[in-house]
Symmetry: D2
Subunit: 305 residues, 4 copies
């Protein structure tokens, strides 16, 4: 079993770290918030006073942070790369923009460390249940070393390619999911207006060329699939704010690469409007409410990040 440093104990990071401990790893943990650090310490983790301290004497350092600037802050100013021992494996599980991911790889490489970008899919449920998918980018060697550790937190550990490839595949998945949701919502609202029974609609489309994972498992209409946020007044699930962050990451990467993305851009703009209408804290499937011309339900004050 390995000694693992873990930075970032949010809604995803805390259960991920916990699963690593259950697997038998020694854990040192840090977060800017004291609460989750204390919680984890109560379960056996070593508490540390700073990000830098976490990195000392561990075999592997894992970060799970909100945005690219946070990863870069930890790799840069916080001093973790100075504090880490030679040979420490660096894994960033955050979902961040490609440019930051590349800079993070450069920082790690310049400091002599092997690094993997390893964003996840599966949400809080997957983090708690240890069933996440990890999309990994970096050297084959780093992937080989990371795999047994990541298996303590997930079910599918996929090698996507060189540095940044994990983030690349993740952002592509997100724009595809967001677009599937948007077009499913547009079609469902039209079908509603035309008097089509949504159950019949769901049954036909799910078996046809218009089908998608979203339509089958997470449709924006209640009563069609057991786990859909639509069943629960759009309580997330995955918030509009988070999906908006992810689709913007895709659009920024597409613009930087000079790849046209007219459909993805239209979806991104739709989620921006949805977000600004007060649905930031609702599940992103609430986009159907915007298309129905209904006011969204969470007060703007609560939901603007």
């Amino acid at each position: 079993m390995a000694r693992i440093g873990f930075i970032g104990l949010g809604r995803m990071g805390l259960p991920m770290a916990r699963n690593l401990m259950k697997t038998g790893h020694d854990l040192k943990a840090f977060d800017v918030a004291d609460g989750p650090v204390a919680t984890l310490a109560g379960e056996g983790a070593t508490r540390t006073a700073s990000a830098g301290e976490v990195a000392k004497g561990v075999d592997c350092l894992i970060t799970m942070l909100p945005e690219g600037r946070h990863t870069l802050d930890v790799y840069g100013r916080s001093g973790v790369l100075d504090a880490a021992s030679v040979g420490t494996l660096i894994i960033d599980c955050s979902s961040i923009d490609l440019e930051s991911a590349r800079q993070a790889h450069t920082l790690a490489a310049d400091a002599g460390f092997a690094m993997l970008d390893a964003p996840v899919s599966g949400g809080v449920g997957g983090a708690v249940g240890g069933t996440l998918t990890f999309m990994c980018g970096g050297s084959a060697d780093a992937f080989a070393r990371a795999s047994p550790i990541l298996q303590g937190m997930g079910r599918r550990i996929v090698y996507c390619g060189a540095a940044g490839a994990g983030q690349a595949v993740k952002m592509c998945n997100q724009i595809m999911a967001a677009t599937s949701m948007a077009i499913a919502a547009e079609a469902l609202v039209l079908a509603e207006r035309l008097g089509i029974d949504p159950k019949i609609f769901h049954e036909v489309i799910t078996a046809s060329s218009g089908g998608s994972w979203i339509m089958q498992n997470y449709p924006p209409v209640a009563g069609l699939a057991p786990n859909a946020a639509a069943n629960n007044a759009f309580a997330p699930g995955f918030t509009t704010a988070l999906m908006l962050k992810d689709v913007k990451i895709f659009e920024a990467a597409a613009q930087a690469a000079g790849v046209p993305s007219p459909v993805g851009a239209a979806a991104t703009q739709l989620y921006q409007i949805l977000h600004d209408q007060g649905a930031a804290g609702l599940d992103y499937s609430s986009v159907i409410e915007l298309l129905r011309g209904r006011a969204s339900r969470t007060p703007a004050a609560e939901t603007r990040p």
Copy 2:
């Protein structure tokens, strides 16, 4: 077995009519082109000299035509509704715009006939193999009478609701498929630029929330799925011209109903540009070539309808 009149023996209609004959029905057939009528007559169908004549003395009259105006011409000026006997069941299998479908239902109802709109999915392969899906709109009684006949041409016969509901569900499926293709292409081109192996990409996305029927079975990159047009230099399959027709039907219906469709509209515009760049006769998955910045491959002269 029934006496069936069949109008419209194109790439879809001819094999559909043939399957009805194989099932044991008596067939009278008409098309503006002599060739397919002669072909079918050679296989045992009764040849007729006009659309009106087809309608005489049949139990059921089926049309399979390119656009709404053709269906309306047949129901209106051609005189088939005058020629048909009381009790003839009218089925329109064409994929047409909602407004025309509604007018067709009105024409049929005014003339005293039960009618079903029953557009299909499954393409030429499904028409030949008798494995089409029929999406049906009309009275429950008309559906009950039509089902045994449609089963001679298809595998799934689905009741979608009242008059026009078949067209409604069909158009929704098409915009969802077209959008799935467009966003899959956008994501795949970005992934290519970023050096991701398309096979890995396909494998990951297919099992994730970004997955779709299109991504799994009909991706726009060669070598990922056995039946994709991308494997064969975008020979159709389903042409850009036909998909453009279908997505415009959705957009027109959404605009008429006052339903926003920003993502569907962006996809529609992308296929219009693709079409105009010379890809009308290529499979619609050739949209990936446009996104790659490559010239399309069919000369405009051949492909403009």
Copy 3:
């Protein structure tokens, strides 16, 4: 002076008819609403009981109606073309879709009448002040005959080309104005967020390549131009509902002609969303409120047409 029949006495038609009377024409008037007919009769017009009756014994028949179906109803079922004398000039001042305009021309021509489509710009203010612009489509002869009459209601009478050309130019102007408004609003909201003084912004852009009639004369921010609806909490002016109708006319014509319109389509979708959020009865410059993430101000119940 001419004997003129006038059908459609709404917010535009009533003052237009009044101006014709002031010019010295004899007027027969009809509307489905009794109020404006009575008003006009009180000012000297001949009151009629039906649309058909208006057409009897006039030199020129003018319609000013909301949508294409109304023009077609008047030309078709109402019997005006049967009632009109040989040589009556037919002018439709309604802003309608191209397909309906063409059908109206065909109905008129089939009945032996010269017709002009002559939609206007200038709004209620222009109708009252007699300063409208008329964009005219039809034969040069019909235009020559219509010009002196139209000059009683407007300042600029422009010949745009053959049948439908007036509607074509009108719809192009509307999509350009709607798009100018939308992009001005997007830019102004970003400028606001970045702390730019809107007056400086207005001054710079108005003199630069990004300038537009809208930005100069009708910007969506208060205090920049004297006649902007933004100065008056977005009281119309020109409602979102009317602008949405107009941009849909453009989009339908572009789709029918096979012309890509990705930017116009995006603007159209934005106004559909704005409309559905409750701004149908507000000026269309209220699109800036949607982009600011603010709830619109008119209750949906009042504004849905």
Copy 4:
């Protein structure tokens, strides 16, 4: 007269520097390319071997560079801020992204220098003729000091607000111009298809609510305005590549600020497609050719930047 250092002698920078010399300023110049430095030295400028050297002993340091990273390189790694004397005024005339502009201001401020972002409009013609517009962001004091110098190169020197405000207004102007061009082109292509004479179209729209600076002065159809690139087979003028860069800057800023930009995003995507179809080196008004379904005219090999 002032001692001025000038870095970046491209198609814009060289004539700008020349105009400063004509005004009587002492000029030190640097560029990564030797040619323009030699040219300017031949006209009386002091030649320097490095960017750092330019900054020594000048009152004012001006940069005119392609992208944000170049400005940041000059301010950062090149050592100019170390080399500059206390009190040197720093002016960046490059059109760059907002994030880089802010970083540049921070670098300058941290080193103790007053700085102005002062991007220009007016193109090569304005640079040669000394008729540029400068949009300036920074302290009022920096603006006051810079104005007399900038007047040597331009006609309108506008104070837009605090640090970054010049870039903000510039990017807004660019997205508005690009969108005006796109919608003018969409409307003109539809008008062409419908048989409208472009001269009539131009005359009507120019005087109506759909009018814009672009439509009036730089329309994408030949023969309508004297200086339009359309008159000369779309020889630039302002290239698609440069316009694409500018609209991406707007979109990035809007996304960072959380401002929806559905219309601007659609225009941006259209220019990306145009660029990738081989029109990077053509004037951006060549977007009309894409909408007409015509192949663009410059080989991709020459035009990809």
